[in-house]
Amino acid sequence: MIEARSLTKVYSGKAAVDGIDFQVKPGVVTGFLGPNGAGKSTTMRMILGLDLPTSGTVTVGGRGYQGRVWPLHEVGALLDARAVHPGRSAYNHLHSLAAANGIARKRVDEVLEMVGLASVARKRAGGFSLGMYQRLGIAGALLGDPGTLLFDEPVNGLDPEGIIWIRTLMRSLAAEGRTVLVSSHLMSEMALTADHLLVIGRGRMIADMPMSELIARDSGDRVEVRSADLQSMAADLRDAGAEVTLEPGGTLRVAGLESRKIGELAAARGHVLYQLRDVTASLEEAYFRLTGESVEYRAAVPVAS
């Protein structure tokens, strides 16, 4: 379990991370979300003892990182896939890492096999594509078979097969009881991978809850209705106390009335229904609603809604 208490990091007067508290529990995949510059990478570097907190603490398994001996057996991380010397082969890069923590040489071959780089193991990393760098980084994280794993943008550059592979990998790691923290911008992937979400914005914790709760909180009970006679359907629904909006394309968006009740109402008033559908918010919508205020770097052109 990763635990942070009042964790703060200040860079030249500005708090990149501002007194955050969180727990990352084992057995679930925890997604770390937030706009660019929100403090995700800084937090991950502090978990790994690479950046020293200005104040507050962060521990893994109850202990800080700095004093750990041979930490790769307990914590594995993919922070920056390109942090490889281009003149070195993939094999030697992992071999030096393994040797530093007393990990056997054959484990290096094992992880290279696991990530699909066995055929290019002895080639210089300088010639790798982005996806190959990512796989090498993931191999490095898996080297010590650790109980805690941190991934910063692991899907970046992977082909569709690779994306499904890493998603399955992360879920199976969590299913084995490990602690998995994933930071990503790819909402669609995050929605399929993460069970629990930490949302950070401008250095502060905005949300810390299970995925289902976040989505439900944002969904409300909304129903999409298509009918032969939209106007009178809408009028009937309003009489029944629901909020009705006419969406472009001829759909009614109804809030405040269950779909069951809408169906019964339509039948009672003799309306023909073409579509009656419960709408759940997407992670993307929920995320935008949450972080609307905390986006640090915003494009001038508004997102089409």
């Binding site: 001996v69 057996h73 307990e74 030096s96 530093a100 078979d145």
Partner: protein, 277 residues
Amino acid sequence: MSTVMAASGAGSAGHAPPAAHRRAWAVLAAEWIKLRSLRSMLVTPLLGAIACVGLADLAVRHHATGWPHLDAVQRAQFDPLAINFNFVTLGILLFGVLGALVVTNEYGSGVIRTTLAATPQRGLVLAAKAVLVGPGSFALAMVIIFGAFFTGQGILSGAHAPHLSLSDHHVLVHLLGMAGYMAAAGLLGLFTGVLVRSAAVAVTSMFGLLLVLPLMADKITPNALTRHTVPYLPMNLGDRMLRPIQGLSPGVAVAGLAAWVLVLAAAAAFSLRGRDA
């Protein structure tokens, strides 16, 4: 591609903490693998070694052929050791730059973060690098120096010029001193690299500090300020160690050089531990 982890249980958190000597060995092994797996770090010392021995060879040959034509005064001044080891400056630079590159390579590529994540005890990482650079430089320097010595003195004896052997007065000490000098330069380079983190700045500083500064300091006629500072530049200390003149005994010179190394080592250790990776 496998989709499932090798069945070794969810993490090996239950292993017993390794003994101190195993930890030290592990860090050292990792540093050695990093060093030997980079072609540039193998080729550069090799080329440098060839250049050094080659330079020595050329110089000695020239003096050997000129020996018969020297007059009595010149013959009295003939110094077989000085002739053989004119390349010392080059060697110092070579090791200084290599020492810096060992570290700046990691900062440049970002590998330093992986290294420090694997071994959070940063003092241990620095010590391992120092063990590799210091004694490693010493060993390589010995190979170069002894190689140059035997070939050079061999040429001199072949030309019937004065030459030395290892058993001669003070020769072995002198050779060891030169190797120590080069090892010190390597360490100075390493610690400078940790402090400045950039290859460009480190290489420029090495050339500036080790080579250009003493050359220029020589050109200032001595005054009170220079008398108390210039002799203590690392290169000048090294020179005094090898060629004692009045005012600075070799023992003091060795201590001075060691002091330079230790001070930079402490600064590097503080910098590494106190700063973000």
